[in-house]
């Protein structure tokens, strides 16, 4: 990574906004754009790239509606500065169905009726994709009784791992089985 710098504040600080040139790969498409250094990934996706699948629930890391896959791992796009993730590969819930075929997690959410209003759903789905990958890699959770054993997709494991995605409609009772189904457990 070459060194980069945008803006040169003087003694009194920067009065005007500072622009930064970045490149992101979003749902498989490379995007070059100029963003204010203050722009989050969430606002870049929604306001600049017109991808409204990540939602702005709280904008403070407290709800999970903005969850995307960032370089393969689930992450909150509302607390990530776009300029700090220059070069990143991002997959949104929209991009999971590339080619028109639903991702197994998306299909499981339909099969299990795992949403009502749907506002939290894109974040839930990206988070679930991340959870299944973390379980495959053998990552433990707070619900794992044995930290050194390979985790299983029990109800408690799924509920704990998905706790960062709030659902105001309370569809949790169907979200847990959907994640288990997508993980081949039910």
């Amino acid at each position: 990574m070459p060194a980069i710098g945008f803006g040169t504040p003087g003694a009194g600080g920067t009065a005007a906004s500072v622009d930064a040139d970045i490149t992101l790969t979003v749902d498989g498409e490379q995007q070059r754009l100029t963003v204010d250094t203050r722009t989050t990934l969430l606002d870049t996706l929604r306001e600049r790239l017109g991808n409204a699948s990540p939602k702005k629930g709280c904008d403070h890391g407290q709800c999970g509606a903005c969850t995307v896959l960032l370089d393969g791992d689930r992450a909150l796009s509302c607390l990530a500065l776009a300029v700090a993730h220059d070069g990143a590969e991002i997959t949104t819930a929209d991009g999971l169905a590339a080619g028109g075929e639903l991702h197994p997690v998306q299909q499981a959410f339909l099969d299990r009726d795992a949403f009502q209003c749907g506002y939290c759903t894109p974040g839930q789905i990206c988070s679930a994709v991340g959870v299944l990958d973390e379980v495959r890699r053998g990552w433990p959770s707070h619900a794992s009784e044995d930290l050194t054993a390979d985790p299983e997709l029990t109800h408690d494991e799924v509920a704990e791992r998905m706790s960062g995605n709030l659902c105001r409609c309370g569809a949790y009772a169907n979200i847990v089985p959907a994640v288990q189904q997508a993980g081949g457990m039910a």
Binding site: M1, L79, G130, L147
Partner: protein, 338 residues
Amino acid sequence: MKPFAFARPADVAEAVRTVAAEPDAVFLGGGTNLVDLLKLGVARPDRVVDVRRLTSREITDTADGGLRIGAAVTNSELAADRRVRERYPVLAQALLAGATGQLRNLATVGGNPLQRTRCVYFTDVSTPCNKREPGTGCSAVGGYTRYHAVLGVDAALPDASAPKTCIATHPSDMAVALAVLDAQVQVLGPGGARTMPFGELHRLPGDDPTRDTVLEHGELITAVDLPPLPAGARSAYRKVRDRASYAFALVSVAAVVADGEVRLALGGVAHKPWRATRAEEVLAGGPVTEHAVRHAMDVELTAAQPQPGIDGGNGFKIPLVTRTVVATVRDLTSEVPA
């Protein structure tokens, strides 16, 4: 949000020089705390210096049988590391009890111990707060104190209008585990590199509540070292919170039990991760019975100062932290190790 310049220098030395040269420059790790505070107007830097891709993202074995953890290692990666899960369960458990998967994937080992307090007045720029605006007073005194300190505060009830008062707690779970593990912090500053015991990183508010740690402006955490635990040592982290998941600690306990030694660190009770050295001294060499642990905690908590508050205050933390210590130590001493 105030505009800011952004830099990602070529290496850590240049990052340190850049921040040291400007009073209002800050480092950026995963951003999960700093970006929130930028939005709230609590952090108002002129320049943000991204160090996430400059510090090490590796966990390596050290010659003494411990581990060195690079500052850019994420909280998720650290909790998932086999060596950490097997040798330092207290650390894996503390990490997994903190925040959520989406946050832990961003949060770094350098940024986590330096996250700011979750005091609701600190994050609300419309209220007086000595930590955010020196000399304005402390809105927490007599306000919402459920998440505030009982240890390390003056024996007299704090004065809300006094310019140095602060009863905030440090919110990190990981930091409580690092305190009990006698970790060492590797720091690079404008004057060179230094190593300090993790237990000396954080400070009490004292005469300057704006400072959470002893780090000078421009000092960068580059790594955290874990010494090996004594042979046969067992360790655990226990966190009590208002929800089963995705909530900060009301109180938490990190414990290490080894032959003739009990080490205890407490979270959610003070401005810093609180190493319970008085209780440790009482327990040293003696039998680790429930009675002994209760007595040791009574000694530790003699100077505790519960805070009244409009939410009922935080006096509940005093019996709660003792019960949590008793339960944690009981689990560590009663189970047959696998």
